[in-house]
Amino acid sequence: MSFEIDQGEFMRTVSQTLGETAFVFVEETEEAHLSWGADEILEARISFHGPSDGVLALAAGEKFATELAANLLGIDPDNAEAARGGRDAVGELANILLGVLLERWFPGDTTYGMDVPVVRSLGTGAYEKEAGGAKIRLALVTDEGQRIDAMVLARGASVPACSDD
C-alpha cells in the first residue's frame, strides 16, 4: 500500500488537535521567516506501524513548550508545574496527534500501532538537519507568534532510544 499524505488534511488535523487539546490556534507559515524564540527545541518523535510505517515528529521551542504544558493543565505558565511539564507536554501532544492521524489514515478494521513518544532537546541547526528527510513538513505559527512544527518521516527515520532527560 502506498502511503500518500494529503497536506491539507494533515494541516487541518494538526490544527484541530492542537486547538482542542492545548488551546493553541495555528496557521501555516514560511518557516524561513520565523524564529523559534528559543535556543533549544524540544522535539518528540513517535514511530507508527500498520499498512505503512513511519515516524511523526512535533517540535516547539522550550519556552513555548512551557505554555503548552500550562494550557494542557489549565494553569498559569509561571506555575512551576508548567515549567517542569514542557517536555512532557510536547511528547503527549505528539502522542494524541498521532492517534487522531492514524485513525484517519488507517480507517475501519485496519490493524496498526504506535510506540511511546521520545522527546529530546536539539539546537536549531541540529533540528534542521534531522528534519531534512521529512516526507511532509508543516511550519506553523500560533496567533501569538509562537512556532510549532509537525512532520512525518519515512520508516527508518531516527528515533532515539529514550528521552534525553
Binding site: R84, I96, G99, V100, D109, T110, T111, Y112, G113
Partner: protein, 128 residues
Amino acid sequence: MSYSILIVDDSATIRSVIKRSIGMTGIDVGAVHEAANGLEALEVLGREWVDIVFADLNMPEMNGVELVERMFEDSMLVSTPVVIVSSDHNQRTIDGLKERGIRAYIKKPFRPENFRDVVGEVLGLKKE
C-alpha cells in the same frame, strides 16, 4: 462514600489532567494514586484499595494491555473496574480490550464530561 482511584499514565501532565477531570465529575474522590506504567500500577494495587483504575495503553516497562491481563489473572484484582484512556483509536484494540473485560474506553483528546459519563456508569452512580 469516597472512591479511591488509580491513574496510570507515563505522562505526569496527563495524570494531572485526568485527576482534574475526575474532580469535575462531582463524585466524592478519596485517595488518588498515580503510576507511570503497568508495573508501578501493580505495586500500588498490591498495597492499596482501589475502586477504579484509569490506565493508558502505550507506556514503557509495562503497557496497558499487559496491565489489564495481569489484573484479570489475579483473583484479588479481577473485579476492579478498568477504564482505558488512550490516544490509540484502533477499533481492533478497543474491541479486544472490551472482550477482555475493561469497563470503558476514553479516547484522547478527551473532555471532562467524558469522565463524568463513564465514572457514573462504571461505579453505578445514579444521574441526578
